[in-house]
């Protein structure tokens, strides 16, 4: 995605100065001929010496391109989008569920359930037809068991901790066969 792309140096300059205005205003620091405090612009021969020295001062020249404001807005909007994406899992409560041997996974909302039993019912509806006798999760005679990955990235057996603790730490679910569970992940 474009969010992961490194931002353009100009955006970095704008971000450093925390300018709220859409139109960049000329701002000057004490001139130092040698130092390049921001280190943003490369010493490229294609730049005019006047322009290079100006950037060394930390200022930005507005050449009158009307599209600069749009470019400036993009940076903020993409940042906001990235933040909103991070909050989606916490906001909706949806986690991925995969079953060993199946290519396509599902998603369940753990906040819609109040206990392990209702979650087991939903998973039965989603994956139950993969076995003749069904999943029968959390039952002694079942050949399947449900494991989950917590916020620290560790895979744990579902049902060991109280439901309220489970829904706070679960990030991913996996339906595995009971004998496979003995193997380390």
């Amino acid at each position: 995605m474009y969010c992961s792309d490194p931002p353009h140096p100009l955006h970095l300059v704008a971000s450093d100065k925390q300018q709220k205005d859409h139109k960049l205003i000329l701002s000057w620091k004490k001139p130092t001929m040698d130092s390049d405090p921001l280190g943003v612009f490369p010493n490229s021969p294609k730049y005019h010496p006047y322009y290079s020295q100006t950037t060394e001062f930390g200022g930005v020249i507005d050449l009158g391109l009307s599209l600069r404001t749009i470019q400036h807005e993009i940076y903020h909007s993409s940042g906001q989008r990235y933040c909103s994406n991070e909050g989606y899992r916490r906001k909706w409560g949806y986690v991925k569920v995969t079953m060993d041997g199946l290519v396509v996974g599902r998603k369940v909302c753990v906040l819609d359930h109040g206990s392990y039993s209702t979650l087991a019912h939903q998973l039965e509806d989603m994956f139950g037809m993969q076995s003749v006798s069904g999943l029968r999760l959390f039952q002694m005679e079942s050949e399947f068991c449900l494991v989950y990955r917590d916020e620290e990235g560790l895979w744990r057996n579902a049902g060991d901790v109280p439901w309220n603790e489970f829904i706070e730490s679960v990030e991913r679910l996996r339906i595995t066969r009971r004998n496979d569970a003995v193997l380390p992940f």
Binding site: M1, Y2, H8, L10, I25, L26, W28, P31, K46, Y47, H48, P49, Y50, Y51, Q53, T54, F57, D62, L63, L65, L67, R68, I70, Q71, E73, I74, S77, S78, R81, N85, Y88, W92, Y94, K96, T98, L102, V103, V104, G105, R106, K107, V108, M126, M129
Partner: protein, 158 residues
Amino acid sequence: MEVSNSCSSFSSSSVDSTKPSPSESSVNLSLSLTFPSTSPQREARQDWPPIKSRLRDTLKGRRLLRRGDDTSLFVKVYMEGVPIGRKLDLCVFSGYESLLENLSHMFDTSIICGNRDRKHHVLTYEDKDGDWMMVGDIPWDMFLETVRRLKITRPERY
């Protein structure tokens, strides 16, 4: 004469933009210091002012703006067994129902989502993490945020 005109233009621009007086004199000093050192050969270069690269970045920004506004979200759609794929703008649909209806018409087949069925094709999608998921489990708005491409799978394979 050309040098003089350029200097004058920059001076007026700087004066209009700068608010405090001390930096104004600093600007003038900088201008006077740099321009006499400009040689005719460097002055005749084609990449000054450096608008080309900036214009390219601006056009890229406009594309990002279009994506950011969610005015269009084109994704690839493949059907198993059909070598040629399609492209679809998900923003024109209001939800899963209209998406399924359009896909069934586009590929001339019966497609379901949300449940596994031995007789119908099932719609799946690849998300941002690269995992293939069943379409229909999450709210439509959340689906638009995470979908990368679509695949219509055969009934017996998933």
